[in-house]
Amino acid sequence: MDTLATVLYILIALALSIYFLLDGYTLGVGLNMPFLRHKQTREHAIHSVTPFWDANQTWLVFAVSALYGAFPALYSAILPAFYIEIVVLLMLLFVRGIVFEFYEKFSHPERFHALLFVAALTAAFLQGAIATQILMGQGLSDEPSHGDIWQYESALGGAVFILGYAVLGSAWLRMTLPRASTDSQSTYRLILGIVAFLLLVLWIVTCLIEQPLLASRVGERGGIIAGFAATGIVGAVLARNLVNTRTAAFLWAACILMVLTAIVYVCIYPDLLIGSPADEGAIAPHASLLFLLVGLAIALPLIVTYTLYSYRSLLKS
């Protein structure tokens, strides 16, 4: 990969991580619905994400469209590989968005709570299962619908995403909801966190066993990986000391997510998918990459600025 393609690879990877973080907490709020005791708390929980869900989901649309623009061969192979899974995922995200915007306007909004939970649960599972398949190197073939998410490592990936998103959602609620409504949940949060962490470790080990290429890359790039891990730990320690305890859990979860996804990208690079080198045909023409980067260089700083502004103004009580 040349410089332009590498920069785009990093930007797409970063956008995907930001998506996992932001839509992770949004879907995570849906996943936490059954564990919130009072109807009013559930309503508060939904209100805490309504202003943000759309922009959060847009990071996925951005990652996918930039993939389309920069690496069209990969885009046109991956999407058809998981045809039915992606159609169902899209419909679940569809329902989720509709619930957020219709919610307040119906006479009995609480009827939507179960729908939101089921949509979030299934969407998180599908995302995890598809992501695992892609991580294993499935997807770069012209044959449509060849992806198979029903292998055990994919199912495990689905479970990891469900629990990971639930952790993010729970941490988000602790950060944004009134103290009284989440304080009774400390045992639940502890159990959730431990189970999520154990599953995550199991999933990583499984993936390394199933895809030896990934394992050998981890070995080769131990230095960089250690560097990322160290940065993550420093970030977590800083978070513990700089912000209040209600915010720290969310930042910790974010640190783990960012470090873990960064390690995955480092292990895949310079392939587009593990085991599929990025040859000439897989990358868009130079003129496309250049024009795309010019647009991103102008737009992304603006996006970050107004996104931070919106969080700052809307989260202030």
Binding site: F52, L67, F94, G97, I98, S145, P285, S288, L296, S310
Partner: protein
Amino acid sequence: MFPLDTLDLARLQFASTLLFHIIFLALSIGLSTYLAFLRCMAAWKGDAIYMALYRYWLPHFTANYGAGVVSGVVMAFELGLNWQGFTRAAGGINGVLLSYEVVTAFFLEATFFGLMIFGEGKIGTRMHCFSAIMVAVGAYLSSFWILASNSWMQTPAGFLHEAGTYVPVDWLAVVFNPSSLYRLVHMSLAAMIATAFVVASIAAWHLLKDRTDPVSRKMLSMALWMLTFVVPLQIAAGDLHGLNTLENQPVKVAAMEAYWEHKPEQGGMPMVVAAWPDSASESNRFALEIPRLSSLYLTHSLTEKIQPLTAWPETERPNVPLVFWSFRLMVYTGFAMLGIVAVSLYLRHRRSLFDTRWFLRAMTLTLPMGLIAIEAGWITTEAGRQPWIIYGEMTTREAVTPYGTWQLIASLAVLWTIYTLVSVAGTYLFFKLTRRSPRAMLAKDDNGVS
């Protein structure tokens, strides 16, 4: 054997998503403009009526916006799911344009939408007005990029075809290809018209119940002024767009006119008012025609002719009855709109706009009029470019992903189920929101200046 093949099913899937999505998209463009205007006018004039109108339409907008966003995301993915051959070859152009749409419009719309809906009282009046404007700006920017991308597929320019890949050589020519600005103007005006008819019809319905309501009066009057200016403008823009299509996609225009072959005895081309175009016999059955009229509006002369359908081999012609009738539907709806505008001007002149009950009753029925024209217009332009996905370059058959029939049927079933459920819930919600009294939104201290 199942009567539809992979290509038919993939097209059906894409068409149903487009026709579903475009309703919300058009109303999002129109309502975001309307709300931004109302919000700023309220802040500027301190007028409680503008604020009441804003409060009345905001929930309609948010529900509609939600449906628009999520169905748009489906479309973005369907491109890659169903048209593998196209996305692989043209990603360096089409994918880049879509990425521009995402980073210039989607994030902007989404973030400022959050601020517009939830920021009131937290971000100050100026910032609130700015947010409402940014949501509308996002809607137009989004239209700009997606129509540039659609137009590039209709009238491709600024590229080279190298080793199975479309390589951009002149981005200005790609973005401002021969039809993109025409399409942008035509679609933006159409969105305003469709929204104005929805607003006007609901205002008329409320006036029938309470003709003294100052909020509904303002609502009807504003919507009809909008239509008074925009409908004639749209007819002119449509004419220019048609001439542009004649230049770049002549076979589409021949199908729109169901013009099969030159008949010297007719002089110029007749306008076919109604007919059943029969592709087998390459002629129109049961034709009702006005002599020379088509020559007049297509060539601005009484004798000149366009290339007839038979100038192209049968495989390069679109589905003539579909294109012919969808185009008729759009044009006839457009002229009916012009009639409504004329009547409204007359009643305004007589100062009886709010009291003429038959007119108000008729207006309540016009609710879907603009949306019908939009649906018909998109069917015309998309069916009319067949068999091409990139006009003159790549056919839809070359582009389609080779799924098995059952896979497409399964996904179509999933899509249609969700679309139906959302339509039912959305329609229920629409009527629920519409039943609220606009007058009840009035509050003295709520005048938009906090």
